[in-house]
């Protein structure tokens, strides 16, 4: 069998794995039945090693990317889970329909988005991808083919959405699509004086904005979180225009420069350049196209390359609305005490309900990107303590450092997830580096 060295996007894990690429249904069955342990691999775009495990089999699912059924009148589509979200959108947009819960990179697959219960940029309007899923078909080594929905095998259905691929291979999915009002956006840019100000403005946003998220500076200690809010809404003047097919170059997101170019000077310089570019040169309201708004990371892979061969850490923390003030106060204290170098800081709102290990609740999602320096790692350790203390949710699929203790203490559904999964698959056939690390 083919052995391949593979590295997670954040460069935290680099291991040799066995890899197979089925392209027939019987091959999904045969390859799964032959393996002791396995996990399914979509686009391999997760920051963390969620789709592979050392010396174990990964089923590369790229050949399962087809449309099984499309019902325009009922706005439903059934597709294979290996389809890239950009390809799915290229098809549905032709029919004035879409799936709004889209992560920032076009080569993310539908299966990957479901296994992580992705929330996209419109999480305050549409919630997570869970809300669009009608049914799922999986193949499991011991249970065989299973149909899952809120009526059939509900428990496994719930376990599969945001279940990191541990319930088997997600083969196909029936989705509820949403009518789209237009293909172009206007982006209104608002200035914010601090992180608290950003939270306040995002929470009281104009509801016609379907996306609202901030970009905040971290280099100014006095005004930590001073920055910009981007509010996207459909362009009223350009409704119902035809959309051109979106094309993307082959992904080079896994490349890196030899050295880490992010340090306190480059962070300060580039944050000021970015801030002033929008503040001085750009108008308050600008026109944006669909591709640029939906896939902001596409074409900007240099951002990741600049972290060098050691890679980066992204910490994403979901804070309930009632705990925002205390979180920001204590975060400010930790910032003063540990002086971390935060390359990217962003804020958005998420709506939803807690279940199992889903990164979902109604609250504010804070995102921080760091290079792997000791002082940043120390700061992150303290941030974990803060999460445990206030029962805040750190994103499991973003942060490769998180250990079992942190996850257990932050996720109320941890034990329930572990027990339900063990009842379903007592041999733990489907596992990854991520699942082993967090102890499930």
């Amino acid at each position: 069998m083919f052995k391949k060295k593979i590295t997670s996007l954040d460069k935290s894990t680099s291991v040799e794995i066995l890899i197979k690429r089925p392209d027939k249904y019987r091959e999904i069955e045969n390859f799964s039945l032959q393996a002791d342990n396995l996990i399914t691999m979509g686009g391999c775009n997760s920051y963390t090693p969620a789709s592979f495990k050392k010396d174990k089999l990964s089923l590369l699912f790229s050949k399962f990317d087809r449309i099984i059924n499309f019902d325009k009148s009922n706005k439903t589509i059934t597709v294979e889970a290996g389809i890239k979200l950009s390809d799915l959108l290229n098809f549905t947009l032709k029919h004035q329909l879409w799936l709004p819960q889209i992560p920032g990179y076009p080569s993310v697959t539908l299966g990957g988005a479901i296994a992580t219960n992705t929330h996209g940029k419109s999480s305050d309007t549409h919630g997570t991808i869970k809300n669009q899923i009608k049914s799922i078909s999986i193949f499991h080594k011991t249970h065989g083919w299973m149909n899952l929905s809120s009526d059939i095998n509900k428990e496994i259905f719930d376990l599969t959405i945001g279940g990191f691929g541990l319930t088997g291979t997600i083969v196909s999915v029936e989705l509820k699509l949403i009518e789209i009002l237009g293909y172009d956006f206007t982006t209104k840019i608002e200035k914010v004086s601090s992180a608290k100000d950003a939270v306040k403005k995002i929470c009281s946003r104009d509801l016609s904005n379907i996306f609202s998220y901030s970009w905040n500076k971290t280099s100014n200690k006095k005004n930590f979180g001073e920055g910009l809010i981007f509010n996207n809404k459909f362009n009223d003047n350009k409704k119902n225009l035809k959309i051109d097919k979106m094309y993307f170059k082959d992904s080079n997101i896994h490349n890196h420069f030899f050295l880490n170019l992010w340090n306190k000077y480059s962070i300060k310089l580039l944050q000021n350049v970015y801030y002033n570019y929008f503040n001085i040169y750009k108008k308050e309201i600008i026109n944006d196209n669909f591709k640029k708004v939906m896939f902001p990371y596409s074409g900007k892979e240099t951002y990741f390359h600049m972290y060098g061969r050691k890679g980066f850490i992204e910490s994403q923390i979901l804070v309930p609305l009632s705990k925002i003030d205390i979180f920001l106060d204590e975060l400010g204290y930790l910032m003063d005490a540990y002086e971390p170098e935060i390359v990217l800081f962003s804020i958005k709102k998420i709506i939803g309900e807690e279940l199992f290990l889903r990164f979902e609740n109604t609250g504010i999602c804070f995102t921080f990107d760091f290079s792997k320096k000791d002082k940043n790692l120390n700061f992150l350790d303290k941030l974990d303590v803060l999460c445990i203390k206030h029962k805040l949710k750190p994103s499991i699929v973003k942060d490769s450092r998180l250990n079992s203790n942190t996850v257990q203490n932050c996720y109320n559904g941890f034990e329930n997830f572990r027990k339900t999964l063990l009842d379903f698959d007592n041999k733990k056939i489907y596992r990854s580096e991520l699942s082993d690390r967090i102890g499930i």
Binding site: F2, I19, P22, D23, K24, N69
Partner: protein, 247 residues
């Protein structure tokens, strides 16, 4: 136009189905597993609004092939062309591992194609028009200690298609034959090969572009033609040394 693709569920066959559909051709697709074909059918019909029929036929079984060819519901007379992008390999394809696999491998790679051509050539002759495209492998250039029946059946296919070219050289039946090097298919996905794998999508497009050309035999990628020619010139005592490198 109406085309029959034999072995359409994956690899080159699948890419040929999409390439021909983009050009608004109607397709009949056959392969062993109807599940794969039905998904390709629904995908193509959603994307390109062309008509696709699918049939489950086990090409390794003569009975299954004959039953399909005698199926009166299938209108072979409407076909304008038949493509055979089929290749079956087995990890038991070595001298002492074969058991009853030799017959299956030979059927899938050679004899089932012969049966199809037997059925279709009288129809094409009657129409005075038709296209038959076969696909062999560079494995046919040389014997080996693995994939022995596969390479033998592909060598038989080479000879058979040369005979077809000879038979129909002054006729409107267009015979095309490709000898393929390493392709990025599942047959080669987990193999560490000494030369790069070519894209099946690009090959499918090349085949589509060549469909109007008359009676061709081509290597793909091209440089495999040179390698095959060189192998044919090497004396056998030197060939024996090569066996260490051939998979």
């Amino acid at each position: 136009m109406n085309y029959l693709i034999v072995g359409a569920s994956s690899g080159l066959g699948r890419d040929l189905a999409y390439t021909l559909s983009k050009d608004a051709n109607n397709l009949t697709l056959i392969s062993r597993d109807i599940r794969d074909l039905n998904v390709i059918k629904s995908d193509i019909e959603s994307l390109y609004q062309t008509k696709v029929n699918t049939y489950s036929v086990d090409l390794a079984s003569t009975t299954s092939v004959v039953t399909f060819l005698n199926n009166k519901e299938i209108e072979f007379s409407l076909l304008d062309g038949v493509l055979f992008p089929i290749g079956m390999m087995s990890d038991k394809d070595f001298i002492t591992g074969l058991n009853d696999n030799a017959e299956k491998i030979n059927n899938a790679n050679f004899l089932s194609i012969v049966k199809f051509v037997e059925k279709i050539t009288p129809i094409f002759k009657k129409k005075n028009n038709g296209l038959i495209i076969g696909f062999s492998s560079v494995a046919s250039s040389l014997g080996r200690n693995k994939n022995i029946i596969y390479s033998a059946s592909k060598r038989a296919l080479n000879s058979y298609f040369e005979s077809l070219l000879a038979t129909f050289k002054n006729n409107n039946i267009n015979i095309q034959f490709y000898i393929l090097g390493y392709l990025d298919t599942n047959l080669a996905f987990d193999e560490k090969l000494i030369l790069p794998k070519a894209s099946t999508k690009q090959l499918a497009f090349k085949v589509f572009k060549n469909m109007k050309k008359n009676n061709i035999k081509k290597f793909y990628p091209k440089w495999w033609g040179l390698i095959s020619y060189c192998i044919s010139l090497i004396p056998f005592f030197a060939i024996k040394k090569l066996f260490n490198f051939i998979k």
